[in-house]
């Protein structure tokens, strides 16, 4: 199988290989299906929380909440990431060979089986433990095995991707690796390192405990191992969106990316600082020394650096585009941006949501200040304007060019218009819902809780208006999901064309500069990542074994 040359990589007619396209499309079908199911669950939740609606057929609120979290936060994102990364590799490095592709398919089927196992357990009300599956809530063992298979499936698929990347590297010694391929490799390395945490807790704690081999579970340890994985999970969702921002968006605008070197450095920093920070989700947990919480808060703040590097790069691309179109003032280049191109508008609106999303994240992670928002619905608002807007809207933008590209179609006027409607409807719904969540959270409204008047407590009365607003926002979001499904259908149906939609891949201003060696030194990257993890986690986890933390029996509260 051939490797693409630099010229092929940037040529608009270079395609994702047809066999790879089938694998990508299979993953994307799951994305659409999961979006529809998870979005419907989300709508029903907001309606229940408004106090105006009761779930029919004995469906439990927490059952629905588990479904919503698992199918959107885990299933939809994982299938998208695997599909997109395979497409990115096939488009920039060259087609996968049979072995690499087979690993992608095995991964896909293992993820599918795992998803179905978890789904059956949720549907039969055996696993209403939410997507974080905190102990001592205890689900059926099949739920944990199902989720394990989903993770194992991603490992297999990612292994095929890593093999593709390293094959290109081996066969093109000394050359700069294709940026998109490099980025998938960074994301996959981060994924391998962080999923060790969740695999450990599920295999050695949850499974033995849920089948009754052991009676109790060490909750502090299980939560720590979960969040060792859980925060990096956020970046696993986000980095494919950043791939689109850095390496695709400039080409959509017809300009060049700001800096290939800066983009690689940002990804390396995300690799270093995504994992040794999970304890910022446990700032009010007992059993972890304040020093280690403080250290992980500092490490969390390090992520601000690559985030602002990304913001700078994107503004620079937009400004350069606007100035090429004749803008001369300080900010009038905004007006010149392609506001009728859905690929751009979806991403841009996502970026706008990321501004308050990032600001909220800094507040959440600020040590004691976390108490202001901890376990309130502010947090739910926060992750809906991070994963639920910039990430998902960028995924939609990627599907807008990727689906016609792999199925032999072109984005037509109707699909583009559906994309624009999707962007604005999503923005309206998410804006209303997440703003209401943030304000209600600041007034103390709890997360992970069904509708209650809390015995008529005056403070709880204040929350109800916000909960109605959440239902209004949720309804707009559901309409947006219907539009998204229609857009997907429009993109893959109809007569095929010879002039297939481009998978845009941008050149950078420093494209011809020699490669920076150390960012492609994987041993060094792994050692630094592992070193930071060991610094951040060795002592807190050791203390969880040495301090005689009492174990907990399992509970089924539903």
């Amino acid at each position: 199988m051939t490797n693409f040359t630099t010229a092929q990589m940037f040529a608009p007619h270079t395609k994702v290989d047809s066999k790879d396209s089938k694998l990508v499309l299979a993953n994307m079908f799951w994305v659409a299906f999961a979006l529809l199911i998870g979005g419907s669950a989300g709508l029903l939740q907001t309606l229940v929380r408004s106090g105006q609606f009761e779930l029919p057929f004995g469906i439990g609120y927490y059952q629905l909440l588990t479904l919503h979290g698992v199918i959107l936060a885990l299933v939809m994102t994982f299938f998208f990431i695997m599909g997109f990364q395979i497409a990115a590799l096939s488009r920039t490095a060259g087609p996968l060979n049979n072995k690499e592709r087979r690993l992608g398919w095995i991964g896909f089927w293992v993820m599918t089986v795992g998803t179905l196992m978890a789904a059956v357990m949720i549907a039969t009300n055996e696993a209403s433990v939410l997507y974080t599956f905190y102990a001592p809530l205890q689900a059926h063992v099949i739920f944990y095995i199902g989720l394990t298979l989903v993770i194992v499936g991603t490992w297999l698929s990612a292994l095929g991707q890593m093999m593709r990347y390293f094959r290109w590297r081996k066969e093109n010694k000394g050359q700069k690796t294709p940026l998109l391929s490099y980025m998938t490799a960074v994301n996959n390395l981060m994924w391998y390192v962080c999923t060790i945490g969740v695999a450990t807790t599920v295999l050695f704690q949850f499974i033995p405990w849920s089948v009754g081999w052991v009676e109790t579970i060490n909750i502090t340890l299980s939560r720590t191992l979960f969040w060792y994985f859980g925060h990096a999970l956020v970046y696993f969702w986000l980095l494919p969106a950043y791939m689109v921002w850095y390496a695709v968006m400039p080409k959509i605008l017809g300009t060049k990316g700001f800096s290939d070197k800066l983009a690689r450095l940002a990804f390396v920093l995300f690799l270093f600082f995504s994992i040794p920070v999970g304890i910022h989700h446990q700032l009010v947990d007992p059993g972890i020394d304040a020093f280690w919480k403080g250290l992980q808060v500092v490490l969390t703040f390090m992520v601000i650096i690559p985030s602002l590097m990304t913001a700078f790069s994107m503004f620079a691309v937009f400004e350069t585009y606007g100035r090429n179109k004749g803008a001369t003032g300080l900010l009038d280049w905004f007006k010149k941006l392609p506001w009728s191109d859905a690929r751009f508008v979806l991403v841009f609106i996502g970026m706008l949501f990321f501004v308050p999303g990032g600001l909220g994240g800094i507040i959440n992670a600020s040590g004691q200040m976390n108490q202001l928002v901890h376990n309130t619905i502010w947090i739910v608002g926060h992750f809906h304007i991070t994963v639920g807007a910039p990430v998902v809207l960028t995924y939609f933008a990627a599907m807008l060019f990727l689906l016609p590209h792999i199925t032999g179609h072109k984005i037509d006027r109707i699909a583009n218009r559906l994309g624009l409607m999707l962007a604005y409807t999503w923005a309206l719904g998410m804006g209303i819902m997440s703003a209401a969540m943030h304000f209600a959270g600041l007034r103390g409204a709890p997360r992970r809780s069904t509708f209650s008047e809390y015995g008529g407590a005056p403070v709880a009365e204040e929350w109800i208006t916000y909960q109605v607003m959440q239902a209004v926002g949720g309804s707009f979001l559901f309409i947006a999901i219907i539009i998204a499904i229609l857009m997907f259908l429009k993109l893959i149906t109809g007569p095929k064309t010879d002039e297939i939609e481009e998978f845009p891949v941008a050149e950078f201003l420093d494209q011809n500069d020699p490669p920076v060696r150390w960012v492609d030194n994987w041993r060094l990257l792994f050692i630094i990542t592992a070193f930071l993890v060991l610094i951040a986690y060795t002592v807190p986890i050791t203390q969880m074994f040495t301090e005689n933390i009492p174990g907990a029996k399992g509970f089924k509260l539903w």
């Binding site: 602002l308 990032g358 800094i362 200040m369 108490q371």
Partner: protein, 50 residues
């Protein structure tokens, strides 16, 4: 010669030094300002509730 001139011109156009990024600078400063404002807003609320 003309070709060389064109290439030089293109390289010059592509250079980071020649970019007009006043707006980018303003926007990044604006983000930093928002960051400080929102953080201190939450901090004041936190201190009030202590």
């Amino acid at each position: 010669m003309t070709e060389k001139k064109n290439l030089d011109k293109k390289n010059e156009e592509d250079s980071h030094q020649n970019m007009d990024l006043r707006g980018t600078f303003m926007m990044v400063l604006f983000l930093g300002g928002l960051m400080l404002l929102s953080w201190f807003g939450a901090f004041i609320l936190f201190m009030e509730r202590m």
